[in-house]
Amino acid sequence: MSADEGAALSSALEDALSSALGVRVSVQGLRRLSGGSSRENWWFELEQHGETRPMLLRRDPVTSVANTERAVERTVLDALVHEPLPTPVIVAADLDGGRLERPWMVLECNSGRADRSVLRDRDPFRLGPAGRLGLAHDLCDLLADAHRLDPATTGLGVVPVDPARNEIDRWSDEWSRVARQPQPELAYAAMWLDEHRPPPPQRPVLVHGDFRPANVLIDDDDGTGRVSVLLDWEFAHLGDPAEDVGWYLAPIYRTEHLLGDQWTATMFLERYCARSGITIEPERLRFWQVLATFKLAVIALAAVSSFLDDSGDRAAPPTDGVMRTLMREVRS
């Protein structure tokens, strides 16, 4: 984006926020942040009544790698504002786009930063082995706590009759939307998923849909690595708790989400089940782990599609690797 385009966006945002808040405000220092494959993230300072506060603008890109439901994130965040879960607070939003041309929302900017490799050996937050293990425990507890919320308080309506069927259909539809070439691997995996579909869960929950270290802000000011906020609720829905667990424990994420012998998938499950009171059978977990890789493959496909359409500004590698991983999983 050129300097002129940046200034134009800043001015449009200023007008949009002034209109939404009913008071003239000023936007300063608007700058695009890295990351965010389904939304543009922009940091800025909002000046109102002589006070400045850091804010985050989340705006839909021209084309998104995931056709997420725009209203979902707003609904969930509004509903969760009084729940004991660290979630972002919406300051203003316009899902029709209005002055900013594409749907957007402005969130209060929490302290901390996100890094998908926070648990890895390179230790970007300098937490040390004990600190990283403590953070891994906190993440597990955070997911369990999210799953303990009453689904009725989330504003997301009724629990689907068959959550597994719903998610297979949802990601198959997304595959159809972005496909530019035949993908027999996805056809094969869709057949496997359909044949291994688990029955509906005994206790449906609020599923985050993208729960992983990359989507939490970590406050490392005191060196302890405390979770400041859980972000990216755009995939949230009511469903099977094993969906979030399977996503977190997807084999493709093993080195990023676990800590070798210190924090294994078994340890994660034991702690999660003890805290949430939810039992997850091995066959159910396996289904959701394969669905997680299926979903990742579709998202990778969408990224390549966006790249080739000249509509995205992020280079995308071929999807061969994730397709092979998917096939290995359904064959094992």
Binding site: S34, P184, Y188, M191, A315
Partner: protein, 140 residues
Amino acid sequence: MRPTPSESTAGIARILRDTVLPHVGDSHASAQLQQVIAVLGQTNWNEAAFQVMRARDRAIDALAECASWCASDPLRVSHFTAVDVPQRVELSSFDEVVQQLLFARGALERFIAELASWRALHGTADSDDVLRVISAALAA
């Protein structure tokens, strides 16, 4: 002197990483440049054409097995669309090989969709072998 495709892309990636990247001040532009460098490194450029040819051959071999499996049972013949196995011919350009690969993968995708409905109707036992052939071809 003719650098190989891998040598050229490795050199370009090195210049982007060591010379250009340190001077990119904008965090978004810097992240996109790092992604460009990563993507350049994720493909074996010298092998790219051969990988496409091998994938085409695996897909054609798997299709031939599928066609044979279908033909061995009249009930299958009536359920499945005729499996069109492309002839493996000498091709003169990368684009031609890619087109043949896409044709074969399209035929495989259709076959798998029909196999899914076959298995739902007739059970899974009689198709497990052909399924293994397909999955081996796709996982390679």
